[in-house]
Symmetry: C2
Subunit: 231 residues, 2 copies
């Protein structure tokens, strides 16, 4: 099976390496471009120029602009899910929520385009949105729901309330990177800098760990209130 003639093997290996390199360069450039203007707003030649290849070269690796766009998202999502499932395994320890927050924020600060890609896809209601919902957002939701069911409270709430709490977490982490350019133009500190990310991370940590039980309590009251009103 592995007895490919050596001459060919080494040759193919070298070529495969080169090919992989350009493919990656194109994918990186595409990520940056798509994260700024979205699928419809990005020009193929612009990606090519940024990747320093001819416009036609791009089509040696990806059959279409749309396919390239999907490739960008397909590469971006798994690591995000990985962070969650990693902590889901050992989630019995009490500090786990704090750790997830830090891990997510650190990952996002290393790949600041991800948040923007997700927001753009959501806002424009693109073709990829269903996949995004099922492969990325639903797992987050499940994780947070499980977390709260176990630790926070004996009472249980509608699915929707959990979903909104999961969304709250997303708003504060992913949203921070999506809105960063606006915040940057308003204050002096760069929200994407180490200091900025650290500050936001602490804010989320404080909110989630220390205050969420209270939030649950109060939400319970709200819910009972509105159940009363319903009668």
């Amino acid at each position: 099976m592995s007895d490919i003639p050596n001459e060919f093997a080494t040759r193919d290996l070298a070529q495969a390496k080169r090919a992989a390199f350009t493919a990656a360069r194109i994918l990186d450039a595409a990520e940056v471009a798509f994260a700024r203007r979205g699928l419809a707003g990005t020009r193929v030649r612009e990606i090519a120029r940024a990747a320093d290849v001819n416009g036609a070269t791009l089509y040696n690796y990806y059959p279409s602009k749309h396919a390239l766009y999907e490739a960008v998202l397909e590469r971006g999502i798994p690591p995000l899910s990985a962070i969650l499932s990693e902590f889901a395994a050992a989630s019995n320890e009490s500090e786990s929520a704090r750790h997830v927050v830090r891990a997510v924020m650190q990952h996002l600060s290393e790949r600041p385009h991800l948040s923007k890609l997700i927001y753009l896809e959501a806002i424009s209601e693109g073709d990829f949105l269903p996949k995004l919902a099922h492969r990325w957002f639903r797992p987050i939701l499940e994780q947070i729901m499980g977390e709260f069911r176990v630790r926070a409270t004996p009472a249980h709430f509608d699915e929707e309330l959990y979903a909104y709490m999961a969304a709250l977490f997303v708003h504060l982490s992913f949203g921070h990177f999506a809105l960063a350019p606006l915040l940057a133009k308003t204050i002096d500190e760069d929200p994407i800098s180490l200091a900025g990310v650290e500050r936001q991370t602490r804010l989320i940590e404080t909110l989630l760990e220390q205050l969420f039980p209270r939030l649950l309590e109060s939400a319970k009251e709200d819910q009972e209130e509105s159940e009363l009103q319903r009668e």
Copy 2:
């Protein structure tokens, strides 16, 4: 000054009305389109089709696609600022924060494109972003800073921390509408429906009114901590 010949006046009035009507129809269609795909991703003909006018008609009212885009944003921002300044006037009563939240959320649910426009402009770092920062985001920041300075605590924090708290509010209100399509694909309830908006409004109210003093306390500790570490 007002003695314009009557014949002309009535004629002009009727025509002005018609013109204003089409101009508004174009502006509305443009708002929807730009809120989905942003400036670069939106096609002029697409706006024209949605407004049910010929592509050329559009240029009788707006000199360029870019100008039309700016007109959309110029119309959207003032009401947002108005909500704030309205409550800023009578902000001594204790329930004011709660009222601002409700007012903002209600306004956004009536004009759900606004959030998306803002997020798109921020993400793509468009030409309008500086104006957005100074005319919309900075006032919010000032308002919230003032609020906290007066009521919350004797200690004071860096400008940046206040900014991030203002941003927190924006994430949860505006971000809710921007991310709504994703949330909608993940759960059953439509986040933009009356029930959905009400739920999110309560979440924010609970968070801000009941929990923010504690958040400030804890943030103060964090700050002192990091000041200690700095030495």
